[in-house]
Amino acid sequence: MLRLPRFQLHTPATVADAALLLREHRAAEQDAAKTGTPGITVMLVAGGTDLYPNMKRRQFTPATLIALGKAVPRGISNGKGLTIGAGATLTAVATDARVRKGYRALAESALSISTPQLRNMGTLGGNLCLDTRCNWYDQSLFWRMAEGMCMKTDPTVVCRVAPSSPRCLAVASADTVPALLALGASVRVVNAEGERTIALADLYREDGISHLTIGRDDIVTEVLLPAFEGWRSTYLKLRDRGSFDFPILGLAAAVRMENGVVREARVAMTAVASRPMLVLDAASAIIGTRLEDDAIAAAAAAAHKLARPMDNTSGTLAQRKRSVPVYATRALASLRDS
């Protein structure tokens, strides 16, 4: 079988310790880069369900891993809204009664991830920071050597998906992100200097390599959800099989209705670009409507316009693009007053 590369594992007991350790190892990494050996030498690991297989395939081989299992909170607590520790397992998120009742899209998205075994290990924070995916990248070292590598693992090489692309086109593939975007989530980020809160939408950028806007010294510790009275939400996922598979389209919708009229709305997508995205025009198309067919059709058209899938996942580009308005329509229609 494929074997993990050798690495040193640290298991700090607090977020502060983890942040200090990370800063220390990052400094060493930067020093090494100055003396001519660039590369990622330290990474964070939570559940490890994505990181370890990637390490077995040598997509990265950090000499040091800082495990967040003991450091990062994993509880789910009520306040004005809901605060979920980044270390909460996907199973915990999917089965929490408060999440299922008030934040349905999140529960549905968490439940749609991979398999029960991996949901028991994988965490919400890990899913938010999931590496982008591409079928030229998520391959073994042997395969990529035979192919000749790609931009994401070798900066001297072109993007295999579109050789003229100036940037990596790997795909955002985290199911919980569009759900959390539709639910208006923000995240708490900690580093050795302190902590800050940023809107989840600002965590991502359209780049398959540097897909996160936060620094590599940063640790996502909590997900903050606003109060959700009067909202309804749902998440729909396109994939080949009923289990295991990453999304090849993930679409979440949330609406707040008053007397059958939409007062607030958010629609978000993933797996159709390098970043997950809010579809603002879809939201504005339905605000003030009763989710009539033509309003939903306008929202679906807005989502369709924004989706830019490439030929680098399962399925085909045309299939994924065509599925966007269908999924948008079905998601919004399911939120109507029954």
């Binding site: 079988m1 074997r3 035979a146 295991f244 085909t316």
Partner: protein
């Protein structure tokens, strides 16, 4: 039936005798074997699809601490291959590589990490050659030869067979259909990856434990390649964690393990990782097919002309048999008075294709049953009633001289149709819902062995000990299909004990008589007959001494459930153990050998007649019910009902397991599995990307057992392992047509293809012919475009 109607063991739903070991993790798979001083092996694989090896230097790797030995192709240059007439492989590549993933060198080290590191220290350089990646390129490009001795371009084998008056048949036809089909390649995906341990013994002998389906054939190839007599080699087939045809060739890691073990005098283990299993492959051939069928107005077939082009990958494997199989069995289901078959198998620079469950018959069966559905539609006939009207009769000979004995296809069609209400639903369901039916047949073991000889196909020895225990020795390989349980059950039935009283020693070339192996669905029929033959000889001895002791005529003696008794007065009885003691006192040690060889006259005598005959054909029919979501293209198969004529179900639970497993596998091939390549590189060599269905995707599967009690089968049994896969795929394609009016003349039927067809208002998805005459280098140029861009970027 001479065995009489009363059976004590067979026909009952007893648990497999090895079930507990498998369920509790005690079963020892090859990778579970750990021996003292064992080394770990790993193969260096080619990163090129087609290239000359210009340099192969292992000195740096050998110097790496922890590396114990390395072998390369030059250490084992002897040609080998499963079929003696087409041996075109070497254990490890010699001078040239022919697909990405081909083994080039093998390292044995103290641990796996060291072996992996050592691969990176082997200096190998390639001079790339143009890769041949499609059937059409292979047919056209004479300037590139994957194998130097191919006479025409890259054609591996070309066969032409003709029976009856084809011209007259088509002239007489009132309706003729010409259709092109394409069946995409796919692979077995056994859950256990290939694994072996070889032990180099002090006296120069070697023992190989390996998850193989064919210990005897492997034994022969090891002798040839290693250059030591078979008497010094022992092959033990470990329980296979799934095989499906993918473990029935001799493999690089098996030779490498043996040679490294012999050189180091230590045990050496190889366990392939999942990606390597995709390169080992030997799976379903991609096949293009042209099928021309003439019929009368009532549907009666007047002539069939079938042409197939098989994409064989880089080596022969079973390819010559596969090629013949695409044409051989089309005649055994429905009456075909005139038949012509042309088959061509080509080499391409991809992992070699070989036998997968249904070997070579799955693709043409898809084409034929899909075309029959079109004919029924053209003529306004009910597809079920139509098939029933044109059945090949039982106890007949086909136009290509195959002997048919029992034939239960009509009952299979009826039973599957009744269970699903087929005729009431077909053509009448709402849009997006569909139902389809198809029939099929398969062999109960190939009529000829792979190498020409006049010896038995299967041998077995049975011995009875003084304590009432029984031991069976037979060379069969337990691949999860239940062959050990079959041996125990047939022996127990014949001698009158319980299956748990029977100890089975199988798959061991030193301990057990030869059985040709677990392929072509031959084991129940052939090994079953062999072990029954052996057990009957002992039963005669037991009955003789029991009759004397009980003072009962011998023909009234019954042996059942550990008792030997008078059938007219069951209280006049002796225990099995007491009778065994009496018999041993009379005859000496109780041991007998039995064997089986197919009878003469089951096939023709023309060249190519060796593929197709079998002592008995199994028959099966499947009905699939589907739902198609027109907006997303999602195809949901709601239910598959398969009725299967297995002669007699020796263990109905196990037979149903085989029927359901085959339906599951066929379903996967129909809706998504594909072994596809991009520029010589496998596109999806992982179980995340190669989409075998999960339990959540799998439809409701129902199995119906149809029994025809075959006079030559052991207690009437025929095969059940492979045939039930075949009808599932065309049944699904036919159901999709019923649902949305689109013919899928190719596999797999994916959501993206359905969406595309609906968007473009296509009524058919499939090939329109061979795509010859196109610029054969176009694909290569596409391939090199990205490489050029990369080079430019590097230069910049």
């Amino acid at each position: 039936m001479t065995d009489g109607p009363q059976l004590s063991i067979l026909g009952r739903r007893l648990p497999k005798t090895n079930a507990w070991a498998h369920l509790t993790g005690q079963a020892k798979y090859a990778d579970d074997i750990i021996l003292p001083r064992m080394l770990y092996g790993r193969l260096l694989r080619s990163t090129e699809a087609h290239a000359r090896i210009t340099k192969l230097d292992v000195s740096r790797a050998l110097a790496h601490p922890g590396v114990v030995a390395i072998v390369t192709g030059r250490d084992m240059p002897e040609k080998m291959g499963i079929m003696p007439s087409t041996q075109d492989e070497t254990a490890l590549a010699v001078d040239k590589v022919r697909y990405v993933g081909e083994a080039v060198a093998a390292v044995a080290a103290l641990d796996e990490d060291t072996a992996f590191e050592a691969l990176g220290l082997i200096d190998v350089e390639y001079e790339p050659l143009d890769p041949i990646l499609s059937i059409e390129e292979a047919l056209e490009r004479d300037d590139v030869k994957i194998h130097e001795d191919s006479r025409r371009a890259n054609v591996f084998k070309e066969v032409h067979l003709s029976f009856g008056d084809l011209e007259a048949g088509f002239a007489k036809a009132e309706h003729t259909r010409d259709d092109w089909f394409f069946f995409e390649g796919n692979t077995h995906a056994p859950i256990e990856s290939h694994s072996c341990v070889a032990n180099g013994e002090a006296n120069g002998n070697v023992t190989l434990w390996t998850c193989t389906q064919v210990p005897h054939y492997l034994h022969r190839e090891l002798e040839k390649v290693l250059g030591i007599p078979r008497s010094r080699i022992r092959v033990v087939a470990t329980p296979n964690g799934g095989a499906f045809g993918g473990k029935s060739d001799p493999f690089a890691h098996e030779f490498a393990a043996c040679l490294l073990a012999l050189r180091t005098k230590r045990p050496v283990k190889f366990t392939l990782d999942r990606e390597e299993v995709f390169y080992a492959h030997r799976g379903r051939h991609p096949v293009k097919m042209h099928l021309r069928t003439g019929v009368m107005k009532d549907g009666e077939i007047t002539a069939v002309h079938f042409q197939s082009w098989l994409d064989g990958g880089a080596y022969a494997s079973y390819g010559i048999a596969t090629t013949y199989y695409t044409g051989a069995l089309l005649t055994v289901t429905y009456r075909v008075p005139a038949y012509k078959f042309d088959g061509v198998r080509v080499y391409t620079n991809k992992p070699p294709c070989g036998p997968k469950r249904g070997h070579g018959t799955t693709q043409p069966r898809f084409a034929f049953e899909a075309q029959l559905d079109k004919i029924a539609n053209d003529l306004g006939l009910d597809p079920l009633a139509y098939r029933k009207r044109i059945l090949q009769p039982a106890h007949s000979r086909t136009i290509n001289d195959l002997r048919i004995t029992t034939m239960g296809l009509g009952e299979c069609l009826d039973r599957a149709g009744e269970r699903t209400g087929f005729s009431a639903k077909h053509g009448k369901l709402p849009d997006g819902k569909g139902i389809g039916i198809a029939g099929s047949a398969y062999i109960s073991g190939a009529g000829l062995p792979i190498y020409w000889n006049e010896m038995p196909h299967s041998g077995a020895t049975v011995k009875i000990d003084r304590g009432g225990g029984v031991t069976v020795y037979c060379g069969t390989a337990e691949i999860g299909q239940g062959s050990d349980n079959m041996l125990a059950s047939v022996t127990a039935e014949t001698l009158g004990v319980l299956p748990d009283d029977v100890h089975v020693v199988s798959g061991d070339t030193s301990l057990a008589p030869v059985d040709l192996g677990s392929y072509s669905s031959r084991v129940t029929f052939m090994a079953g007959n062999a072990v029954k033959d052996a057990a009957m000889k002992l039963r005669d001895q037991l009955a003789t001494v029991a009759a004397e002791k009980l003072n009962v005529p011998r023909d009234r003696i019954v042996c059942a459930l550990r008792q030997v008794y008078d059938k007219d007065d069951p209280t006049t009885a002796l225990s099995f153990t007491d009778v065994a003691v009496l018999a041993e006192a009379r005859y000496g040690t109780l041991s007998a050998a039995g064997w089986y060889k197919p009878p003469p006259g089951i096939g023709g005598t023309f060249k190519g007649a060796g593929v197709g005959p079998t002592p008995a054909y199994s028959y099966q029919a499947a009905v699939a019910e589907v739902t198609v979501d027109r907006a997303t293209g999602r195809l949901t198969v709601d239910r598959i009902v398969t009725a299967h004529d297995c002669g007699r179900a020796l263990n109905p639970a196990n037979v149903e397991g085989q029927i359901e497993g085959a339906a599951y596998m066929g379903y996967g091939e129909a809706i998504g599995e594909e072994q596809v390549f991009r520029g010589g590189l496998h596109k999806k060599p992982s179980l995340l990307d190669y989409k075998i269905p999960t339990s959540l995707d799998t439809p409701v599967l129902e199995a119906i057992i149809v029994e025809t009690i075959d006079a030559e089968g052991p207690y009437g049994a025929k095969e059940a392992g492979e045939g039930p896969l075949n009808p599932v795929i065309p049944a699904i394609a036919n159901a999709v047509f019923d649902a949305i009016g689109v013919r899928f003349d190719e596999t797999p039927i994916t959501p993206e293809k359905i969406l595309d067809a609906l968007a473009k208002k296509k009524v058919r998805v499939g090939p329109t012919g061979l795509e010859t005459g196109r610029d054969p280098k176009a694909a290569l140029r596409r391939l090199s475009a990205s490489t050029d861009a990369r080079e430019r970027k590097r230069d910049a």
